[in-house]
Structure formats: C-alpha cells, structure tokens
C-alpha cells in the first residue's frame, strides 16, 4: 500500500479557499500533489451530487472548503452550504458511506499555511484508509452489468 497515491478532488470557493491556496503558492509552502482543485464561486454553489460524482469517477478523497462563517463574499452562501453538508453527512453516515473520506473545512484567503495543512492531513488520512475499494467496486459492478445488458 506504500506506493498508493490517492486521488483527491478539492471543491473550493473562489474568494477564500481558492485565494488561500494561491497564497500557499506565493508563500512557496509545499504540500502533497494528490489534491486537485475545482473552483466554484461559492460553497453555496457546490451541489452534493458533485461529491458523489467525484467518488464514482475514482476519487479516494474529497476536500470541500470555503470562507469561514460570517466571511462569505456573498454573505450567506457558506451558511447554506453548512446546512447542506450537515444533512448530507447524516445521510451518508446512515447509509454506511465513509464520510472520513471527505474533509470539510473553512480556509480563508489569508490561511495559506492552513491550506497546506488541510491538504496534507487529508492526504495522510486517505493514504491510511487506502483506495476507496467499496465504492469503486460498486461502480465497476454497475458498469459491468450495463455492458452485459447492452
């Protein structure tokens, strides 16, 4: 398992975490290259279905990150997102889907070092968990079925 390189997608808002990750860059703070970022205007824009799509497309882990409460560029998008994630997590837990594979965080535009830390702790955790086999199997099985049924 030592050579396992997890695939991790980060869904971040443009105004805080994306800018914070820019600051990590300008500060030249190194972090694991497993995490790739998709930019959204706001965490409020992030559809929970996209997280499922990330897993079904082979992600082993996910980071969702935006502005700290009260700092939302759009005043309330992150508060709505927070409610959405509370419900999503409760549902996933109830269905036995491993939520420790998703890191939810608030990283501001000033927290370059923190972004690196969020990435690194997530990568370390996902490395320990290993590839998301059960989800991948589920998808593969379904794909096979589809092929079989034409």
């Amino acid at each position: 398992m030592s050579d396992f390189e997890p695939k991790i997608v980060a869904f971040v808002c443009n105004w805080c975490t994306y800018a914070g990750a820019d600051l990590t860059g300008t500060s030249r703070i190194k972090y694991a290259s497993n995490v790739k970022i998709i930019r959204f205007p706001c965490t409020g824009r992030i559809d929970f279905m996209l997280l499922l799509k990330a897993f079904s497309n082979g992600a082993d882990g996910i980071i969702v990150s935006g502005c700290h409460p009260n700092d939302c560029h759009y005043t309330s998008g992150n508060f709505h997102a927070k409610r959405r994630w509370i419900m999503f997590k409760e549902l996933m837990d109830f269905m036995g889907i491993d939520m420790s594979r998703i890191t939810f965080s608030w990283v501001s535009a000033a927290e370059g070092a923190r972004w690196a830390e969020v990435v690194n702790t997530t990568v370390t955790r996902i490395r320990e968990l290993g590839p998301y086999v059960s989800y991948k199997e589920l998808v593969n099985k379904s794909v096979e079925e589809e092929v079989k049924n034409g």
Partner: protein, 267 residues
Amino acid sequence: MDNLILRAKELLENKTVQVVIGYEAGPTGVVRPAFISDPANADSLIYDERCVQNLAVYLTKPEVKHLGRIAIVSSLPVMRSIMMLISEQQISYDEIVVLGISADGVLLDIADLSVMQGYIDKSDLSNPVKYKELLAELKKLTPAEKFEYWQKELSKCIKCYACRQACPMCYCTRCTVEVNQPQWISVQSNAHGNMEWHILRAMHLAGRCISCGECGRACPVGIPCHLLTMHLTDQVYNYFKVYAGTSEKMNSVMSTYEPNDKESFIV
C-alpha cells in the same frame, strides 16, 4: 364516518367544492382513493385504519386541479403536506377545503388555515413509533453493516420511481433524474445508480419530508426508502429544532440558516 359523508355531501351540494378526495373500498375490498364529484356517490366514503395513503399527492396534479375546488380527507400527514405545499406556493388554501380527521378517526372542524395550524401545533410531529424503532435498529449497525444493508436493499430497485410519484412533496414537473445535460443519475437500474437516486431523493426531501411513509408503502419491491427521509427528518429536528409542514411561511430548513448552526465536522 357518517359525519364525513354528510359533510362531503353538503360541500358538493352547495357547490363549495367540485370534488371530494377521500378513500373508498374497491370491489375486492381494497382501499383506494376516491374522487367524488356527485353528492350521490359520497356514501362510498370510508375512513378507518386502512386509509393511510397520503392523498395530498393529488393536490398538485393538473388533472385534479382542473376539476375545481377540492375537499380533501386529511389525516395529520395530509395536513402537514398541505402546509408544505402552501409554503412552497404550489397550492393556495383558498383552493381547498380540509376535511381533517383526528388520530382517533374523528372528523375535525378545520374552519380555516389557522385552525389547521393549531391542530398541527399540538400534534406529535416526530416520526411514527413503528418507524422510530426501525431507525433505532439501523443506527446500531456498524458502517460496514449499514453499507451492506442498504446495498442489499437498493440493489432491488427497478427505478420505477413509484416512491417519487407517491410523495406529495415530489411535485416537480421535471425531476433531476430526467436531466441528461449532464446525466446526473444513470438511466438504467444498477447498484450504483440506484444508490445515487435514493441519496438524491432523500436530500431533496431533507427538511420537507412530513413522515407519512408513503414512499416506502408505494415501493413495489419493498425497499424501506422512507427510512432515509425519516432519518433526515429526525436529524433536521435534532439540529434545527423544526419539523416540516408546520407553517405556511417559507421556512424550509435547506433554504434558510442560522449563523450559529452547530456542526462538529468542519475543520
């Protein structure tokens, strides 16, 4: 249920409403929804413990709306559905007459919206006891067991969408599953797509489900999909201290927020 029949007749005779939606026993004794527009037929109306279907689902159907003003036999879940539909601007209280029925089967005098509000306010809005027990059982399982349980259940799904059709809150004229740009949910029924569908359905009902259990009853293959939405109903109350279908105001949990909403997983 003589009172119900009398009241239905009266409403139809004096043209207060054009149709009464209630329950009747079919030729084989199976209870089915009744759409009565002729007062003479009101005698077929029944109400007993077999009458569990959530009739509110018909209120948003164009072919039913078309009939005119509707009187609807309403147990608590129906009343809560009506409240939700009003708050989501799908119906107006003026379009309907609520023939409220109490938990012990007595016809209530729901004169107006505030009376219905009062009745809902003093009712127990948590999930029905039999479901509470099932939920508690499921919660005891380990994550792996839960995963296995749901995979086993959901693999039965044939994507007939009866759960959606039976639900009064699933009134969208186009559902996400019918969107193919992008294709959010695969068209075929397979383990993965089935799971995505049921997650989507439960999330779309978070804060809106009124715990009638109709989706589970409608499922032809017996998936307890109502437990997913009922679990979220529990959680909505747990986190936000509200139950769906308690106010005519737009107060849906997922479209509002409090700055101090508590969670413990966001770092």
